[in-house]
């Protein structure tokens, strides 16, 4: 081969290589650019929307005043309750069935006896009224809430915090934690606002279809605005978690921090894969030892157990009007329905106890006061409808596909219904400031372990506020 031929060849090769290199680089850069553009197009907020839930047509103007509200009762109400308690027709439980077939009838008689003869509703109402209650009309509904301000102290920063309950709970779940939050924690004290979800307790129930967690979130944002708060913290569990998450997705600038006890990841392939690998190589997928202890055996804990415990969810998400009818007329039936959850969801092992372990973590008085809130307001049916409104439209829910970018604090209680490790939570909550493995507690931590929960909220807020 002659030299110039060689040179020509090598030049040609060189050009070809250069061309190839340029092409590849162009594609790579183009790809990276496209990915970056596409990624940043991922929604960081959800639309706020609008709604009106009252009866008939929306009027031209709405009263936006905040009215004080006092819970009242009467002799008639108590007499009616007692008469119904006396009319109960019990069915003997199967021998040796404990709480495995649902609320044990033998133990139920004990609860009812306390309710009928010892429980003092008038005294409980006075206890409920120890904090100031209010109502205000938003989107056609009377929204109930309590507002508790810490006593004025020197060198104290008052931080607004909204607590949102779930089902079958109520604002009453927070009565033990409120005094802990309004204390002075090294210069920080909380001003606590606890609303009732519309359709629950003293908040009016929607008359129109479609009232889901996004609607509730918008209403609560309006409430905070009406109360004069431009920035605040949120805490929630159960439905409260879904609602406060939506609030953070709607107006992230207003939500300084989001603290949750129950949270769900965005399910994806990575999560399923980590489930399989995590059992044997947890460190590889970011599981801690505690995560492994809580998740596995997966099928047993998360599939079979969930199937056993979600019958109520299935019927409420499909036929709430049917499911709610009888429980709204039988206080004993209502109590069995609600208190079964306070048993199983505090600790699944309680299903094997004849008394469901109910009085181990709660007093009958506290449990019955929560039941009475549902009973006296006839709100069980409307509370159940929330399930249908939220699950009915699963495919089109934009908020499920959207992440949460406000500072988030997650408190993982060991007996919560499902355990979600930090790596899974991160698929949805992109800005996790704290993830705490709590030593004890189940699904109703504010009720069961108020000190632990309060401490975690305080440490989270201090972290976010750099206090």
């Amino acid at each position: 081969m002659s030299l110039d031929k060689l040179l020509r060849l090598s030049t040609a090769n060189f050009s070809a290589s250069l061309a190839l290199l340029s092409l590849t680089s162009a594609v790579a850069i183009g790809g990276i650019l496209a990915y970056w553009v596409f990624r940043s197009k991922e929604a960081k907020t959800i639309p706020i929307g609008h709604g009106w839930w009252g009866k008939g047509k929306k009027p031209l103007s709405e009263d936006d005043q905040i009215h004080t509200f006092t819970i009242t009762t009467s002799d008639e109400e108590i007499k009616d309750l007692h008469a119904r308690l006396d009319l109960t027709r019990y069915t003997d439980p199967l021998e040796d069935s404990h709480f495995n077939f649902g609320f044990n009838s033998t133990y139920l008689k004990r609860v009812v006896s306390h309710w009928r003869n010892v429980y003092d509703w008038k005294k409980q109402v006075a206890a409920l009224n120890q904090y100031p209650h209010f109502k205000t009309k938003i989107e056609g509904l009377d929204v109930h809430f309590i507002r508790v301000c810490p006593p004025s102290r020197e060198n104290q920063k008052v931080v607004p915090l909204m607590l949102v309950h779930g089902w079958p709970g109520s604002f009453y779940e927070f009565y033990k934690i409120i005094p802990l939050l309004t204390q002075n924690h090294d210069g920080v004290a909380f001003e606590v606002i606890c609303p009732s979800i519309p359709g629950y307790g003293y908040s009016e129930a929607p008359q129109k279809k479609g009232f889901d967690s996004v609607a509730a979130a918008r209403i609560f944002l309006t409430l905070m605005e009406r109360l004069g708060f431009s920035q605040f913290y949120l805490h929630g569990g159960d439905w409260g978690s879904a609602i406060t998450t939506n609030m953070a997705q709607m107006k992230p600038d207003c939500v300084k921090g989001l603290h949750l006890t129950m949270f769900f990841p965005r399910r994806n392939f990575k999560m399923s894969l980590s489930l399989v690998i995590g059992r044997y190589l947890p460190f590889l997928v970011g599981f801690t030892r505690e995560d492994v202890r809580r998740i596995y055996p997966y099928f047993q804990k998360n599939v079979w157990q969930m199937l056993e415990e979600t019958g109520y969810m299935h019927i409420q998400a499909t036929k709430p009007d049917t499911a709610g009818c009888a429980v709204n007329n039988s206080p004993v039936g209502l109590a069995a329905y609600i208190l079964e959850k306070f048993s199983s969801w505090t600790d699944m092992k309680y299903r094997d106890l004849s008394d469901g372990g109910l009085e181990r973590m709660f007093t009958l008085d506290d449990l019955l006061t929560n039941v009475m809130i549902y009973w006296t307001t006839s709100s069980m049916t409307s509370s159940m409808r929330f399930y249908k409104e939220n699950f009915g439209n699963l495919i089109n829910r934009l908020d499920f596909k959207t992440g949460v970018f406000v500072p988030t604090g997650l408190a993982a209680f060991p007996n919560e219904l499902m355990h979600n490790p930090k790596v899974w939570a991160q698929t949805k909550y992109r800005n996790i400031y704290s993830y705490t493995f709590m030593p004890r507690g189940g699904h109703f931590p504010a009720f069961e372990e108020p000190q632990l929960l309060a401490d975690d909220i305080v440490q989270f807020v201090k972290k976010v506020g750099k206090i």
Binding site: G311, N329, R385
Partner: protein
């Protein structure tokens, strides 16, 4: 020598192969029979004394107190308005429920209905520690050359023996078309209506089947036919599996496949493209597809009750046993939706299109006056708790079977799927009308099909 070795080798292989083949054929032909053991369902331990096998006549009774208690509870109902424009899509519509309750309170005559219930002979007998209630209806008139055929008919949930009251006269009276009259036995499943509820855990459909066999034996029947829908389908199927020689023929109007086999899955995947391959006709295609909607979404929408009853029956039954209106809403919602699921879009749920309020409320009153709602629900937990792969669900049925396919039944089972379980399917009738409570809704059609099927078997 090598040749000999080689031949021996071949011989052994062939012998093994033949043996294996024979074994395989033998296994297939060996008809499996369901095994069961005796049980005891009364309170405490079974007594040492001999079992009481006497049969006592039984009359349904009511009293002024019973009615007064019912009315008091109805009057203290606290209604909650249904959402605007929701019809029956959120469950039983509250506004229409008030109409039903008003009829119940002011027009429904329970005393008269009790007389109607007592028009047939009722009995009770103690089997395995619990009192079993049943109707025994003998034909009044047996013309010459007419055969009397005994048949046991088993109800389901939330039905009762009362579902068959329209069907019984059509079977017990002679017909022009054939020379058959039936002698009908209608028991109540233990835990339902006037049959005592089991006191121990574990009472499933096989236990009910075994108890009903003992009942028929006690009544002196060596062979009989069986008919059932809903749970009755499963109980009578188990009866056929327990004693295939005694159950002469099995007639069912509900046959959901117990285990999704390969052929079922394949037929679902390819059936609408190659219907002929799976024997699918137009009706099959229309009722099975679109798959996602009809096989997944619809069942999820309608099985909430099943889920909660199969897991927490004592909880959900609690309020229902105190609130008659709540009980009526819970039960009648099924009589609406399971008759035609389009009724969910009607303000009145289409309840009175196929049934009278008197009949519907009589069925509800059976649950109310006997206080059996909780024990009726436990049957779900007992049947599902052991999982889907029970011996009886894996075992085929070898008894001659007739299947009546009603268009609005909850789940459509094409012939291919029915045959997977019922190896001797003698008739598969596509009915013109009717839903899940077919015996009550279309007694004429049902009677015709039972007669045709029975005649076919008798003539063999």
């Amino acid at each position: 020598m090598y040749l000999t070795l080689f031949l021996t080798y071949i011989f052994v292989l062939v012998a093994l192969a033949l043996g294996g083949l024979l074994l395989f054929i033998f296994q297939r032909n060996r008809k499996q029979v369901l095994k069961t053991e005796d049980g005891w369902w009364g309170p405490g331990a079974p007594p040492d004394a001999q079992e009481d096998v006497s049969i006592h006549p039984f009359q349904i009774k009511t009293s002024a107190e019973e009615l007064q208690d019912l009315y008091r509870r109805i009057d203290q109902t606290r209604p909650v308005l249904s959402l605007e424009d929701s019809q029956f899509n959120y469950g039983f519509n509250s506004q229409y429920l008030q109409e039903v309750v008003s009829y119940w309170r002011n027009d429904f005559d329970w005393k008269r209905q009790v007389e109607k219930l007592n028009q047939y002979q009722h009995f009770k007998t103690n089997i395995e520690g619990i009192d079993i209630h049943f109707l025994h209806v003998k034909p009044k008139r047996v013309p010459k050359e007419t055969e009397v055929v005994p048949i046991i008919m088993v109800h389901g949930w939330p039905g009762s023996f009362y579902e068959f009251y329209g069907l019984i006269p059509l079977l017990c009276d002679p017909s022009e078309r054939d020379n058959l009259v039936f002698e009908v036995i209608c028991p109540s499943i233990p835990g339902y209506g006037f049959s005592e509820a089991p006191h121990k855990k574990g009472f499933d459909s096989v236990c009910a089947a075994r108890i009903f066999h003992k009942l028929m034996k006690r009544l002196g029947f060596q062979q009989f036919y069986a008919h059932g829908g809903d749970w009755g389908w499963l109980v009578t199927t188990n009866m056929a599996q327990l004693e295939p020689k005694i159950v002469k023929g099995l007639h069912v109007n509900f046959a959901p496949p117990s285990k999704p086999g390969l052929s079922m899955v394949l037929s679902l995947l390819l059936g609408n493209r190659f219907p002929k391959l799976f024997g699918f006709n137009g009706v099959d295609i229309q009722r099975l597809y679109p798959c996602m909607e009809k096989q997944v979404v619809e069942p999820i929408k309608e099985t909430g009750y099943m889920h909660i009853q199969a897991t927490k029956p004592d909880t959900v039954g609690r309020a229902l046993n105190d609130s008659p209106v709540g009980l009526a809403a819970y039960i009648l919602e099924k009589f609406s939706t399971w008759t035609c699921n389009d009724f969910r879009n009607l303000e009145d749920g289409g309840l009175t299109r196929k049934f009278s309020l008197d009949d519907l409320l009589t069925n509800v009153m059976i649950y109310w006056t006997s206080g059996c709602i909780t024990s009726s629900m436990r049957f779900y937990k007992e049947n599902f708790a052991k999982g889907l792969y029970q011996p009886h669900s894996k075992m085929p049925v070898y008894v001659p079977t007739g299947f009546a396919c009603f268009p609005k039944e909850l789940m459509h089972t094409p012939k291919l799927w029915v045959k997977q379980k019922y190896h001797q399917l003698k008739s598969y009738t596509t009915m013109a009308r009717g839903g899940h409570f077919a015996a009550m809704e279309e007694p004429q059609l049902m009677a015709e099909d039972i007669r045709t099927f029975t005649k076919m078997i008798e003539e063999k």
